[in-house]
Point group: C2
């Protein structure tokens, strides 16, 4: 499928089949993340791939007991080995760069018939403890990965383009140009 | 092309043809951004699309005079209308959510034969002044968009998967499992 189909089909999946993701598919997904762009090619992203059930159960507890966190056959802890570099615009690089890698992986997953869900609702200190993540590493997001139970998860409404796009200047309507 | 081809072909383009991007293609790209996921579907992203040459020249100055910023026929100022909500994991939502939208747009551009470049090297206060962006809005990135001069821009080396992926725990080699 082309990129527009993948974007249209992507959903945040919170219910997974009890079906393993093969090493082959997992590697394709990680490869997609690896090829993402990053500020000055810093590649601060690091991924801890968790399949072990007991560890997933512990992560689930650290993620406010959201049931799909232990249901998903794979959780990828998306970390950053960051030097806390801040871009001229004032934003730290690492959350943006890790997000680009995650976004790549979520779209790659759609192509492979897999579902994902970005998870920001977790206690970072607990996740770091569970996965032995060093003090100086940040865990930016958890990513659930697996086969969706349903193919028909509804798409959450989005604001129309008119509400989010301006032309030439803030406040100038995109469609009245 | 499928998502893996788009990921493989994407480059950070810093040299653009003097060729306009049609409204139709631009809308497709913005649509791709609009459909990105965001924490609790907050959709904090806002986009200011700049085609006006004088404004692009001003943005170029604000972006450390990187020549491609005025060469590119379109600059999209990727902003956030943020309430500064912080996720349980400790990360503010808005840079990550805006990054997901940008990443969607960069891959959509590849499908359409267009090139992009994420730009974080700009003075936010100057860009806000040029585009009349309100005080409470953040400009997270500028995105250059247009037709690449060359199709053969080299791919920057990436760290191998072995260096960025661990299995079950931080430090456990992915390929020795």
């Amino acid at each position: 499928m082309n990129i527009f189909d993948a974007i249209r089909k992507r959903r945040s999946i919170r219910s997974y089949q009890d079906k393993a993701v093969t090493d082959e598919l997992l590697t394709k997904i990680l490869e997609a993340g690896r090829q993402a762009p990053s500020a000055s090619n810093r590649q601060e992203w690091r991924f801890v791939v968790v399949r072990n059930k007991k560890i997933r159960e512990a992560l689930c507890k650290a993620a406010k007991n959201q049931p799909f966190v232990k249901e998903a056959p794979v959780i990828i802890a998306c970390c950053a080995k960051t030097d806390n570099h801040v871009m001229t615009c004032g934003q730290p690089c690492y959350p943006i760069d890790v997000a680009a890698a995650i976004d790549h992986m979520t779209l790659a997953a759609v192509e492979l018939g897999l579902g994902t869900c970005w998870i920001g609702a977790f206690h970072e200190d607990e996740v770091k403890n569970i996965l032995s993540v060093p003090d100086d590493i940040r865990v930016v997001e958890l990513l659930a990965l697996g086969y969706p139970v349903s193919e028909s998860t509804s798409f959450k409404e989005r604001l129309p383009l008119e509400d989010i796009v301006f032309f030439e200047k803030w406040g100038s309507s995109y469609h009245s140009k």
